[in-house]
């Protein structure tokens, strides 16, 4: 019986592509890597030509990460070296997705993950004990409960550390010796208490720059990482394409039988892009809201409107609903953001509704919901 998941891991979702790339991979591989760096790049950035599978079929390798190909290349080279990779950026810029893609392509598994929170403790990062076994047999390997870091080191695979800056600084620092000496000391195991990392082990951390200052990383730990800043997508056309792809995929998964409207996707992409950059396409300067204006947020606004239309209204998506969802998404933290959104409607949207008309006119009419 086919098992369904809400969100299957990357290595399951793209099994076919990974297998095909492995079968055709002739590039040099760092030890313990499933794919060569070039094949990892192709997996993430896509290929212009189809790739043959083991059973002779041709499959297309789709581009999965948009915006900055150079960044992906740098990430791969970092992971082939001795330093960890730290992805930083605004929320919703696909840092986690990129780290999953990298882990799945390099190690064949993307689920070896530590989730950083304010409550993360050192034993969650290193190892803990099965206390029943510990009492029965004493401190033996059998009683040790390995952490994702432990697993990564012993198997020679990537360990992902999500939201590292949410973890207290002294806990983060327990990574320092692991990253510099590539060894984990387990004093309880005495002579057998040294775990040396196998080749292929590395760490991908992610950190949200909105949390900056919450638990700033120590400079000693920073030195063990190469940093990559993942920026929001700059190209409106690309952003529109991402919105359409993501909403389309989510709608298909949830069996929502409504098509994704290109014009609505464009309208949202432009709104988010302009509010994020603080300037319209005609050069009008706009005050940027303090809320996160990521593509992921735009996808969420669109998908919410689509679901609403599917389950409650049968006549199709309404721009009024979309505007209300937009207000809810933008005006979360401060009332000032509502004023900024109003100003955007009164200048840019107004001008465009007069020049372009159509959907933009409807959008401008829906400004009554900006309250």
């Amino acid at each position: 019986m086919e098992q369904k998941f809400i969100k299957p891991p990357v290595e399951v979702r793209y099994r076919e592509e990974l297998d095909a790339l492995a079968a055709n991979d002739t590039g040099r591989k760092p030890e313990n890597w499933v794919l060569s760096p070039k094949a990892v790049r192709t997996f993430i950035l896509g290929s212009s030509k189809p790739v043959s599978t083991a059973d002779g079929r041709k499959i297309e390798i789709r581009k999965k990460f948009f915006g900055n190909d150079g960044l992906v290349e740098r990430c791969i080279i970092t992971l082939a070296g001795s330093r960890g990779l730290m992805l930083v950026g605004e929320p919703g810029t696909a840092k986690t997705m990129l780290s999953e893609l990298l882990s799945a392509a390099i190690s064949g598994v993307s689920t070896n993950t530590v989730q950083g929170t304010a409550g993360t403790t050192e034993d969650m990062i290193k190892y803990s004990w099965n206390y029943a076994l510990l009492l029965a047999k004493g401190p033996v390997k059998e009683a040790l409960v390995p952490s994702p870091l432990y697993v990564g080191m012993s198997k020679g695979i990537i360990t992902r550390f999500e939201e590292i800056t949410r973890t207290p600084a002294e806990i983060q620092d327990s990574l320092i010796s692991v990253m510099s000496d590539k060894v984990l000391n387990i004093p309880e195991l005495e002579d057998e208490g040294l775990l040396f990392a196998r080749p292929g082990f590395n760490i991908i951390g992610t950190a949200n720059i909105r949390d900056k200052g919450v638990n700033e990383m120590s400079s000693a730990l920073k030195r063990r990482f190469n940093f990559e800043t993942v920026e929001p997508v700059k190209d409106i056309r690309l952003e529109k394409q991402i919105i359409m792809n993501e909403v389309g995929e989510s709608a298909a998964a949830d069996r929502i039988g409504m098509p994704v409207d290109t014009d609505v996707a464009e309208l949202l992409a432009m709104t988010y892009h302009e509010l994020r950059e603080g300037i319209s396409d005609t050069g009008i300067k706009i005050e940027k809201p303090s809320a996160v204006m990521s593509t992921a947020e735009a996808v969420s606004v669109y998908y919410q409107t689509l679901s609403n239309a599917w389950y409650y209204e049968h006549s199709g998506m309404s721009i009024e609903d979309l505007t209300q969802n937009l207000v809810n998404a933008v005006c979360k933290d401060t009332k000032d953001d509502l004023e900024k959104l109003k100003a955007y409607f009164n200048t840019v949207v107004k001008q465009r509704s007069e020049k372009v008309g159509g959907l933009w006119k409807e959008y401008y009419t829906a400004r009554k919901y900006l309250k």
Partner: protein, 799 residues
């Protein structure tokens, strides 16, 4: 991938073999790859004449350029004055630069010719004729801050090349060029290199509409160049033609009779109308010109590559060495700026660029991999404007800081010439060895205003030429009432050397100041600094209308410092008022003033909680904002400002003096606020001792903006009296300075009135209160002595 730059039919379009009588060598300006193969071609072909693309009227400067004493970067500075109105109905002055670097193929071709006694020369139309044959807003007539003769926009903007970049995974044309024409150049044969160049340039040419080539004068220039080549071919047997790759095919077609040349009408101009000078140049200026698609960018880095090829003869390691040197330079510069880069960072960066080069299938890493590796390995944290110092320092190192030198026989640099002309025009005694003084009546005599502007310009360029002794200091807000300026000036060797240094920025003093101020503005982040620079430009008489607008607006928008915005308001407001007096047509200061005003008003509510140290400054800005809405320019915004003031008063834990000042301003616009002020003072009175002390600060703020409140009726005198009575002696002594400051806002007459009211409250005699008792001379002398002793004791104590 290499197949991308191959096509079976392309090589046949322009034959390249050493048996040809005319051999076309295609170049890109400042390309070490082109220069590398050019040397091989010159060695093998052994031409008896080398013809180079460049305005023919610069032939006279070839001996200066190729002189052993001349060290690149240098440039030719062309000018043309269209007094005969050939170009359009308005008389215009045109100028452009033609830079030569060590890596420039044109420079190397001319040096080779000079060293080997080979005839050489430039073959393009003179500068004025190029302009006359160019349509408005095209080619050399495009409106730019600085114009470059060596324009390569065809190549850099070609849709075909852009498509090729995308296909090959390169992020820009420059990266594409580096991979296939610079790094590869050191590993492939000359024939293969030229085949690639032809392919690139020919496809670009085939995709360029003929109308475009007509409009920017390209076809006329090629016809003239071809005519010159044909003339020389009657005198020489082997001619090497070194031109931009885009023109090689055009020249070949005309010379082979496949295309009819355009008709050319040459004009004859005197040296006053059209001329060219050689001048020392800088890598920085050459790099700025490259921004206009005029040759390769990052001259400092490619100069390193070139020196590895030529001086160290390490062809295979040229990039490796240049990358490492530039990386180390960057790390050292970071350390100087207190950003520690460890050996581990450096080694990670090296691993990174090598790994990236392998992944990108490059024969060696290049500058773009270096940028990638520094961005990843040197920046610890988010990459943004405040953390990208390593990248900025790398960019500086890649640009280079070398300044060229002309041989002794070279003619005078244009900027010096311009300075001398101006000095003559204004009858300045610049030849004298004694310091001269001059008094300028700024508002009465236009020429005096111009002299003042020149002095300000020279000061801006750090020429140590003129110093203002007396006169209004607008920037520091002192002596503003003076209507005359007195300056002392003297020309020294330092003046000339500073001007030559500035020559890279322009051929005239004003142009150099303009370019320099634009550069300075680019580095400025704070509105206060940007506005100060704007004032400097105002004093220098530089037109900032178009050049500053965008950047200035961005600075105002992104500056989150209320006090910096406040300083901006002060400067723009002042310029707005002085514009007419200084005869300046100032449109922008009004616009920026409004921008700053709105920004400051939006930030005001939070300013109620400023620290005590900044309260005085905050009050000053509040008063300035209030005075703006009282004037005509922003009178419509009075309500907006009032709203902000009201929201300030609603916030918790206000800074007392700012709170008092804001209430005072609100009282100024609406006398009903008197009640609110009374209740605020009473609240301070009824508070704890600490709160009572804050009452003194509150009064200081209040009196600074609404001192009349005390003079109307006696309510405030009574309240103040209650406040003072409430203090213990010790606390009173503590707040006394604050109270003294508060009453300093009143005129002596007003103080007298207040004293009388206060005296009446205590049934005292106001006269007695006002008049200090006479002090006996002996007591005074004893007091002085005592003070001396105390000071002595305190100094001893501090030792």
């Amino acid at each position: 991938m290499e197949g991308i730059l191959h096509s079976p039919e392309i090589p046949e379009m322009i034959p390249f073999d050493y048996s040809q009588r005319i051999l076309y060598y295609p170049v890109r300006h400042h390309s070490p790859g082109c220069s590398f193969h050019l040397y091989r071609v010159m060695e093998q072909y052994r031409p008896d004449c080398i013809l180079v693309e460049g305005p023919q009227n610069a032939d006279k400067l070839i001996p200066v350029l190729t002189d052993k004493g001349t060290v690149p970067p240098v440039a030719f500075y062309y000018f043309y004055k269209d007094s005969a109105k050939y170009i359009n109905d308005e008389e215009g002055e045109y100028k452009c630069y033609y830079p030569f670097l060590n890596t420039s193929p044109e420079y190397n071709a001319l040096c080779f010719a000079s060293e080997n006694g080979i005839a050489c020369g430039f073959i393009d139309l003179p500068y004025g004729d190029i302009l006359i044959n160019t349509a408005d807003e095209k080619g050399l007539r495009e409106k730019k801050d600085i114009s470059s003769y060596s324009d390569e926009h065809y190549l850099a903007e070609s849709r075909y090349i852009n498509a090729l970049c995308r296909k090959t995974g390169m992020r820009s044309f420059e990266e594409f060029w580096e991979k296939y024409f610079e790094i590869d150049a050191l590993h492939i044969t000359t024939e293969e290199y030229i085949r690639r160049m032809y392919y690139d340039c020919l496809i670009t040419r085939k995709n360029t509409p003929i109308e475009e080539m007509m409009a920017d004068g390209c076809l006329v220039r090629e016809s003239f160049m071809a005519e010159n080549i044909l003339k020389k071919s009657e005198m020489y047997k082997k001619i090497l033609v070194v031109t931009g790759g885009f023109h090689s095919y055009g020249l070949y077609q005309i010379i082979e009779g496949k295309v009819r040349p355009q008709k050319i009408r040459l004009h004859s101009f005197s040296d006053k109308v059209q001329d060219v000078y050689a001048m020392s140049y800088s890598f920085e200026a050459a790099d700025a010109l490259s921004g206009y698609s005029s040759g390769m960018q990052n001259p400092g880095f490619y100069d390193r590559v070139w020196k590895n090829i030529i001086d160290r003869k390490e062809i295979n390691k040229a990039y490796e060495n240049a990358l490492l040197d530039t990386l180390l330079d960057c790390a050292k510069a970071c350390a100087k700026d207190k950003l520690l880069i460890t050996m581990s960072d450096i080694s990670a960066a090296v691993t990174m660029y090598q790994g990236l080069a392998a992944m990108r299938e490059k024969r060696s890493a290049g500058l773009y991999e270096l940028y990638d590796s520094v961005g990843t390995c040197f920046i610890k944290g988010e990459k943004n404007g405040s953390s990208d110092l390593p990248l900025r320092l790398l960019s500086r190192s890649a640009t280079g800081s070398d300044i060229g030198k002309l041989c002794d026989s070279a003619e005078k640099v244009p900027i010096i010439k311009n300075f001398e002309e101006l000095s003559k025009k204004y009858k300045l005694k610049t030849e004298s060895v004694i310091e001269q003084k001059i008094e300028l009546e700024l508002f009465a005599k236009p020429m005096h205003r111009e002299i003042s502007r020149l002095f300000y310009q020279m000061s801006f360029l750090d020429c140590n030429f003129a110093k203002r002794i007396k006169g209004a200091d607008i920037i520091n807000n002192s002596d503003r009432s003076r209507i005359r300026e007195q300056w002392a000036y003297k020309r020294t060797a330092e003046t000339d050397s500073a001007l030559i240094d500035s020559s890279a920025y322009g051929g005239t003093v004003e142009e150099a100041c303009t370019v320099l101020s634009i550069r300075k503005l680019r580095d400025v982040q704070k509105c206060s600094n940007a506005a100060k620079l704007y004032v400097e430009c105002f004093l220098m008489g530089i037109d900032t209308t178009e050049k500053f607008s965008d950047r200035m607006e961005n600075i105002i928008i992104s500056d989150g410092d209320f006090f910096s915005i406040g300083q901006g308001i002060y400067y723009f407001n002042m310029l707005e008022r002085l514009a007419e007096l200084y005869k300046r047509d100032e449109h922008n200061s009004e616009y920026f003033l409004k921008k700053c005003f709105y920004k400051a008003v939006s930030m005001l509510p939070d300013m109620i909680n400023v620290t005590e140290e900044r309260s005085e400054e905050c009050i000053r800005i509040c008063r300035l904002l209030y005075s703006l809405v009282s004037g005509s320019l922003l009178s419509d915004e009075a309500e907006l400002l009032k709203e902000s003031f009201v929201s300030m008063t609603k916030k918790a834990d206000p800074e007392p003096s700012v709170y008092g000042a804001v209430l005072g301003l609100l009282y100024g616009s609406d006398s009903n606020y008197k009640k609110e002020i009374s209740s605020a003072v009473r609240a301070y009175l009824s508070g704890s001792k600490e709160i009572q002390k804050q009452g003194a600060a509150f009064l200081r703020g209040l009196f600074s903006t609404a001192r009349d409140i005390v003079l109307i009726g006696d309510e405030f005198v009574k309240i103040t009296d209650s406040l003072i009575k409430g203090f213990e002696m010790e606390d009173f002594m503590e707040v006394l300075p604050e109270l003294r400051l508060a009453f300093s806002y009143f005129s002596p007459y007003e103080t007298d009135r207040i004293a009388r009211s206060a005296a009446e409250l205590h049934n005292g005699d106001a006269e007695r209160l006002q008049k200090e008792m006479n002090v006996n001379e002996d007591v005074y002398a004893a007091g002085i002595l005592l003070e001396k002793d105390i000071l002595k004791e305190m100094r001893w104590g501090s030792d």
